[in-house]
Symmetry: C2
Subunit: 571 residues, 2 copies
């Protein structure tokens, strides 16, 4: 490719809303172009990266016996009614009517399509297991598109669906995909990534993992045990109850606390008692139900993990409006509580709590010396958010908390879709059973942005050889010099003939201008042909990542460059 | 791939609405699965064919300096308002609102996206010409989806857009793409295809060509001159007026014709006069306008070409409802015509007509001896449909009429989009001008169906080697025989290691069952390993297309099979 013809403007400035590196640099390097909120066009270099990532994914999916298929972007409502997701998924799914007034959706995931595809074609356990996958456009009407390709509305995704006769078989296959994912992320050049236990969300199912690139700009919060390797998304991280120090239960005492409502105000008012010695009340409403209140009690130093709470109450929750409620905001406590339409969830962190401060359910008052067991009952429910330093649920060591970008996910779905959509196969005993499914996703655009985010430096993007849009940026300095032009063009042809992908900067421009475009675009090898290098019979090679620079004889450089490309393919 | 695990049921019967070969066979072979009207899922073999076709297209597009990009499926209304197509395109474009109430469309073509992508990035004539393309999903809410993948609503298309500083440059580039298209269709295994002049329809622009696969089931009607090679879509084929025999004009005479209304009835009633001696009246309404009538007069043996008429009246036309009109249906004529709100178009076929029979504009009567020039005026308008045997507009030889499937199209667009969307570059003189565009499309799914349609035989599909889902169907007969199993599996591994794509029929089934699946699926080479072949130290090879069958020694067969695959890649 000739730089003089490449469409995609390189600029010194990025739009002011580009607050993360990858977003800003990919715009500045002319890789992506905004079309509408969360909707992008990819220029040639970005499309080349996407194709290379797709091909690596494809190889690894084929290696675990995947069958590449193609399901449609537009699907009829009926299919989503079968699974129940036409009504259970909210605004993020685009719905429209066709010219005949029939309802359609834009696919944001393809469990329904995979089951519809397979259910008539597979009849016997002997045809299981199998995995079908596609690499296809999806649309999710994301409320908070941001960060360039990190969080978008339209995206290309590899989504895979496996079908099994037993949970054991699914689990065996799940491990194969887990390993394939590790290979994929490694091969596309990601470095600091981990897998964590995760919430299966709208997919349904039990066990699931997310692959996360660790980075400060990540939107996900991850809980990691440096001792035993336990790793979890904060949303599902188990909070271990801590034992309360042995203490003699005292008699309950009502104390005036005036305007002190927040835990920090109450503890200060009562003479700096520790927050751990208080019971915090947190109220929610069920989304779309203004009557019912969910009232959570939790140890005063902890926060409620809404993702875990949602699972327990089996509904979306929103911060409560207590205006018309009998609850006394800021003075709510578990003792003598008397309110209608309230679901109470007492977190396990309060188990065994002795002599605690709680609200007195009376304006301006709290109770002291409230004891769990005697005065109220804690449940086994775990709705607490893990904190830095919380105990690891596996080994008990202090946990650390980090941020990550989700770069892939794998789910054990169970029979949610095969049961609801009526897919059965005959098992060995001749009985019709629902196959057990797994599903496995990787977003291609987000992978591009994540690699960019992890590898970029102050000079610009910095692609690993395995997915770089071109291997070599061939830079002719002084293209008005006939010899430079001739030798550079000959090298351009020879490198390509040798299978090296080259973008050739044939423009009449200064060395500084060209070098800065090369750095900004992040092409792994820069090869310079200039009057000076030719005078010495050489070309100059620079490695983008390390900045390392060396000369090699012009004659025979094609082989050496090719070798460097091959070596760096593994890095 | 193992046949025992391939998802996609092969059946003996196709749905009753599958009236064309490719549709029926692709369903029967388990290649495609209907999701909704005009919306399909592709099974693994069909997806493999699609990818091979896409890769051939990609190679040829890259060879004419194309830059592969990716534009979105979902686009904001604003972009389509700029070009004016948000309102000019009808029901076939899907429109919906996002969660914030903004209007979006599903892309059915991407001229707007291409201009939006390029307009900020390109400023100077020196950056021209360039061509950007994508291979991406499109949706067109087609009213008459039919024929499997022939006419669908959701489809994968390669669409390319070129930008030029002058018409000459566009024309030069247009020829390069024209040649590339010929190479593409040849490489993907099409045989009987031609290019024809075509109507540029909703794209705008002047010159355009369609590539057509000649086949009786084609929906397009093509006009071909066997003498000079003139080829045109019927929609735009020029009809040459024919000279009337010299004859003395007679005086007009009104004759009673009773219930005779159609030309055939009138000519019969009047004693078998030739239809060429009559003037036919054909009435239309402008679509969406119930008042205005378009009244066409044309020589009685000819039909009106509505595509050409549409261009002349610059509107869609529909058959007229004459209920409230002053026109006397069946007796309309050009003489003494008196009707309001009527646009009259007299076809050039009536130029010089002498002593014609026409309607008398009076219930039950016609006129004889009506003469053009004396009694009414013909225009230069050409609204007549070419017939088999009509004269070629280039060389005058008799034309033939054939059916075809459109497999690709190329358009000289002009500045319709760059002007309306405000894309300019500075020309050599430093003046801002709108680049001149070309656009170039190929539907991938339709290409699959067209190849299937052209090549299938009574036994099933029959893929050319270049796009076949697998090169070899390896058939083990008697898989319960340990030696067969061992030798077949070894061959499966070795062939794949040698780069031959193999589907291995490892199922316990009868030879007939396996052979018929192999024939139905249309894999180019069948290789059989059986107790009998092994007894002779051989494998049996059959070529799907010719039925030719020969044995080769088991030892060394990998190289020979590979060579056969390579040779047949050109066929």
């Amino acid at each position: 490719m000739l730089m003089s013809k490449l469409v995609g403007e390189r600029t010194k400035t990025a739009p002011s809303d580009a607050v993360i590196k990858s977003h800003s640099l990919m715009i500045r390097a002319g890789y992506i172009k905004l079309v509408a909120n969360g909707i992008w066009s990819l220029a040639m270099p970005a499309k080349r990266i996407a194709r290379k990532i797709e091909n690596i994914i494809r190889e690894e999916m084929d290696a675990v016996d995947g069958q590449e298929c193609m399901f449609p972007v537009v699907m009829p409502r009926e299919m989503w009614d079968e699974s129940g997701r036409y009504s259970s998924i909210g605004d993020e799914m685009v719905r429209f009517k066709d010219r005949n007034g029939r309802d359609y959706v834009l696919g944001m995931t393809h469990e329904e399509a995979a089951v519809q595809f397979a259910r008539d074609a597979v009849n016997s356990y002997q045809q299981l297991p199998f995995m079908i996958y596609q690499i296809q456009t999806k649309f999710r009407d994301e409320g908070r598109a941001r960060g360039g390709l990190i969080r978008v509305r339209e995206f290309t995704m590899k989504d895979a669906y496996s079908f099994h006769i037993s949970q054991e078989d699914l689990e065996k296959y799940y491990v194969r995909v887990y390993d394939a994912y590790n290979r994929i992320f490694k091969r596309i050049g990601m470095r600091n990534f981990i897998s964590v236990l995760s919430d299966s969300g709208m997919m349904g199912g039990a066990v699931s993992h997310e692959f996360m690139l660790l980075t400060d700009i990540g939107e996900d919060t991850l809980v990691i045990c440096p001792e035993c390797g336990y790793k979890s998304n904060m949303e599902v991280a188990k909070c271990m109850p801590e034992a309360y120090p042995a203490e003699e239960p005292k008699a309950i005492e009502e104390v005036f606390t005036g305007d002190a409502k927040e835990i920090s105000e109450v503890t200060a008012y009562l003479g700096d008692i520790p927050a751990e010695k208080t019971v915090k009340a947190v109220c929610y409403n069920i989304k779309g139900d203004s009557v019912r209140t969910v009232l959570c009690f939790i140890r005063g130093d902890l926060e409620v993990n809404e993702a875990k709470l949602k699972k327990i109450v089996r509904a979306e929750v929103v911060p409560a409006n207590l205006a018309d409620s009998a609850l006394v905001a800021g003075n709510i406590g578990p003792v003598g509580l008397d309110a209608e339409n309230v679901t109470v969830v007492v977190d396990a962190s309060l188990k065994g709590a002795v002599n605690m401060v709680t609200g007195a359910n009376k304006e301006g008052y709290h109770l002291k010396n409230v004891c769990e067991g005697r005065d109220f009952k804690a449940s086994d429910a775990d709705i607490a958010k893990v904190k830095e330093g919380s105990r690891c649920p596996v080994c008990g060591a202090p946990l650390t908390v980090k941020n990550g970008i989700e770069i892939g996910n794998i789910f054990q779905l169970g029979t949610k879709y095969t049961a609801s959509m009526g897919m059965t196969v005959l098992n060995k005993e001749g009985k019709a059973v629902n196959p057990i499914m797994g599903c496995y996703g990787i977003g291609v655009g987000r992978a591009i942005a994540s690699i960019a985010e992890e590898r970029a430096d102050e000079k610009g993007l910095n692609w690993p050889m395995s997915v770089a849009p071109w291997h070599v940026y061939l830079c002719a300095l002084r293209v008005d010099d006939a010899e430079v032009r001739e030798k550079a063009e000959a090298l351009y042809e020879k490198l390509q003939a040798a299978g090296v992908e080259v973008i050739y900067d044939d423009r009449e421009a200064s060395p500084g201008f060209k070098f800065s475009d090369c750095d900004l675009m992040g092409i792994p090898l820069r090869v310079v042909v200039s009057p000076r290098s030719l005078a010495a019979g050489e070309v100059e090679v620079q490695i983008r990542e390390s900045g390392e620079r060396f000369n090699m004889p012009y004659d025979g450089c094609v082989e050496k460059i090719k070798q460097t490309v091959t070596e760096r393919m593994q890095i």
